[in-house]
Symmetry: C2
Subunit: 185 residues, 2 copies
DNA sequence: TCATCTACGTCAATAATGCTGTCGTAAACC
DNA sequence: GGTTTACGACAGCATTATTGACGTAGATGA
């Protein structure tokens, strides 16, 4: 990459040696580095699928919906809403587009016929898989570089960052992990 | 080829008939779980600061700018643009608001007087710290729950997910790590 | 010195994604 | 049978992002 003049690395390397303050500083620097990392990793992770989305005229919101519907075939609209934590209106635009374009199907719930259970059509599964593959590349590379124990640590920290509801969701498939639309061919 | 998993939890105790397919399944489930985690962790991490932002009528874009300016006092507008990877126009709205409200100061570059180097004012430092504290709570809790080795693993995986430029940026202060907000307005 | 590039700012228009509030309908529930 | 629930839709608005065009001051090099 071309180095601009106002180079980020040459900011201020003076060191103030105070053991206690230094420890405090290290802790703060550690937390601030985590802020950086969350921003960068999330940015580049989501970017990975953007090329495909763009050529289809879809956005990241569509991708998120496809992802969660694919992973929880037969979920209700309400379930999806509380997973995404957006409003009905925000979702409806996205969902309508996906339905209209044949990526998502709605089937009335059998137990509760007010519900319109969501699932990916074949086209939806195909598209979701294409998007998945892009993000998968990055994640697999990162996992491989980092190694198994690091991945376990990653999992533990990420879990700690998310809130209780999200943790409960993550625990969901622990037993019935294959429930969704599992199985790679 | 790659080590699939460093003994995460055992998703499937029954070492079934098709061990190969099962391994494949585990790998895919692992990647998909990572997608979930990135979404949830990022969502809840960013949400942490929203209350403060809202009462000030600021958004997350303002927070990101404050964060990076605070961490790189004296950076140029161009540097900030390439860090955030947004357009000049997107940044200008945010930056103008921050300057107008007295959170950010611009000083002409000494070497290159076309530049308008950015730094937080005292008010900006105070605000940024309030926002930081909120996110810090979450991260400290997560780090403590997870433990030291897990944090190192987290760091390694996150680094693997981000792109080369971001990694180079992370390596920036490895020695001069104390540069961040050492510059008063 | 003069032409050109660079760093930054701005105007105009548009898109994607989110929000609130309201209303309607069908089905479930007590 | 009245109330709540699940969902859909309309109207309007805010935030954050985009592209493209244009201007200006200052750096830079032939």
């Amino acid at each position: 990459m071309p180095e601009p003049k106002g180079d980020l690395k040459t900011l201020d390397p003076k060191s103030g040696p105070q053991a206690g303050a230094n420890l405090l500083f290290l802790r703060e620097e550690e937390i601030r580095a985590a802020q950086d990392m969350l921003f960068f990793a999330y940015r580049d992770f989501t970017n990975a699928a953007d090329v495909i989305l763009e050529e289809l005229g879809l956005g990241r919101a569509h991708h998120r919906a496809l992802h969660f519907i694919g992973r929880n075939a037969g979920m209700s609209v309400g379930d999806l809403l509380s997973l995404l934590r957006i409003t009905k209106q925000s979702l409806s635009r996205v969902l309508n587009a996906l339905i209209e374009q044949g990526y998502v199907a709605q089937i009335p719930g059998r137990a509760d016929r007010r519900q319109r259970l969501l699932a990916l059509t074949q086209a939806g599964q195909d598209l979701e898989r294409r998007l998945y593959e892009r993000q998968r590349e990055r994640l697999v590379a990162a996992y491989r570089e980092a190694g198994g124990p690091a991945v376990e640590g990653f999992r533990r920290v990420m879990r700690g960052i998310m809130d209780e509801a999200a943790r409960a969701y993550m625990d969901r498939g622990e037993q019935a992990a294959r429930a969704p639309r599992a199985r790679p061919a």
